[in-house]
């Protein structure tokens, strides 16, 4: 099946946070107790019970006093996902047929390596020490529905659909370069940015940490090539050179 995705258009977002509420409602997530920090952004960051949130940004503007940007933050559902790469437990993180990065809490072993492997600082851990993050409403999309957040978005700032189709529609709407089109093998969450990604609080070039890539490409193969190599070398040594026996001494003693 074609890869599905979400197109986020901050220019269309009115900051109503209905997406946050809809997500909590569908996924039956409790509210987080927070304090008034004097702004609309609340909670201040993703939590184990908050899979997506609106990031409020005030940036200088040419014509007005300031420009207000509302950026939906969530799991980006990378094609080449750092969390999946580093995870030591098979099946804890998996790809759904729609291309979402799903989670299976029963298989999560609570090591938290995915937190270090994620380029976007997304995975959180719940009170049972299990991974918690947006899974693109895998239960809804598998049944032909759209995720709760996009379903409820009143302005079209969040759109769910065929990933290629979303990219096409964003380009038609005048966004020459869609954020996430090619990064990390292509993100499942695409962003229609008018300005540089930095303005919206995003990395220009998100990437899996270099040490994780080195580990995956070099150390993992070395771990069995090295072991296999020395076992083979030992066998060859045993056959070609042979064990070091104490023949002379035994002969002397016996003789």
């Amino acid at each position: 099946m074609a890869r599905m995705g979400i197109l986020v258009s901050p220019e269309l977002c009115i900051g109503c946070r209905a997406c946050q509420v809809a997500c909590k409602s569908w996924n039956q997530l409790p509210g987080d107790k927070t304090v008034n920090r004097g702004g609309f952004e609340n909670p201040p960051d993703l939590t184990p019970h908050l899979y997506n949130k609106i990031h409020y940004l005030e940036v200088p503007a040419a014509t007005d006093v300031q420009r207000w940007l509302f950026v939906n933050q969530r799991c980006m559902h990378c094609d080449d996902a750092g969390c999946m790469k580093i995870c030591p437990s098979p099946g804890a993180l998996y790809k759904t047929k729609e291309g979402a990065v799903g989670i299976n809490k029963d298989k999560c072993i609570g090591c938290k390596l995915c937190v270090a492997g994620c380029p976007f600082n997304v995975p959180r851990y719940d009170e049972k020490d299990k991974i918690s993050k947006c899974h693109l409403c895998y239960d809804r999309i598998a049944n032909g529905l759209q995720p709760a957040c996009t379903k409820t978005c009143p302005t079209g700032a969040l759109k769910y659909g065929d990933r290629d189709g979303l990219i096409g529609s964003a380009q038609k709407a005048g966004y020459a370069k869609v954020y996430g089109q090619t990064d990390l093998g292509g993100l499942g969450a695409l962003y229609a940015f008018k300005d540089a990604p930095k303005v919206y609080g995003m990395d220009d070039k998100p990437a899996i940490p270099e040490t994780v890539v080195f580990w995956h490409k070099v150390l993992k193969p070395l771990s069995y090539i090295g072991l296999g190599g020395v076992v083979a070398a030992s066998l060859i040594h045993y056959v070609a050179i042979g064990p070091h026996k104490e023949k002379e001494e035994e002969e002397k003693k016996n003789g």
Binding site: P88, T211, L219, H237, Y238
Partner: protein, 201 residues
């Protein structure tokens, strides 16, 4: 017969050997998502618990080993250079190997490698286990844990091979702790001389 290892040293070595082998098997299970290894330890969730606590056994036995081998392993003389030039006689039974102390040059290097990378793999393991909040610490520990793993997986099979079938009779050091006098005199003459001097004094 002559005593080469005491009871505590033998037990300590077995604790380290068994924990190390189990930890390594689990390591391959985690690295390559091998379901069979996970099942053998009751699933990946309980394998992680096993991995943590076997890690304690490994690091504690590594700590005690410092008092057993470090001083000897850091003592080098011209015989050690001679040992290196003939490659310890491992590649030919005809070469004459310089006289060795209680442990030979290869064993010294092996011990230092186990100590350095054993500390590396233990310390990084504790960081991943106990301090999972800091991304930079975890990434550093993850790479240290895996580099140490690769090196230990090369060094330890050689140690097992040389301590068992490559040198028949060596394994008894890990069982009874005693070795025949002639064997010791041939392989570790400087140590035997030392022991005899000690007896006389």
């Amino acid at each position: 017969m002559i005593k080469k290892a005491g009871a505590f040293e033998i037990i300590n070595h077995w604790v380290m050997a068994i924990s190390c082998i189990l930890l390594a098997v689990q390591g391959y299970g985690f690295l390559f998502h091998i379901e069979g290894i996970g099942s053998a330890f009751g699933g990946f969730n309980s394998m992680k618990t096993w991995h943590n606590y076997l890690g304690i056994a490994f690091s504690v036995s590594l700590f005690f080993s410092i008092f057993m081998y470090l001083k000897e392993a850091l003592t080098f003389d011209s015989d050690d250079i001679g040992w290196i030039t003939v490659l310890g006689g491992y590649l030919s039974h005809k070469v004459k190997v310089p006289p060795m102390g209680k442990i030979n040059t290869g064993q010294k290097f092996f011990y230092l490698a186990v100590l350095i990378f054993g500390i590396g793999i233990s310390a990084s393991g504790y960081v991943i286990w106990l301090l999972p909040g800091n991304k930079q610490y975890i990434l550093l520990s993850h790479i240290v844990h895996n580099i140490s793993f690769v090196i230990l997986m090369i060094a330890i099979p050689v140690h097992i091979y040389l301590g068992t079938i490559a040198n028949p009779g060596t394994l008894r050091i890990m069982l009874s702790g005693t070795v025949p006098y002639q064997w010791a005199k041939k392989r570790h003459p400087k140590w035997v001389a030392e022991v005899e001097r000690g007896h006389k004094a």
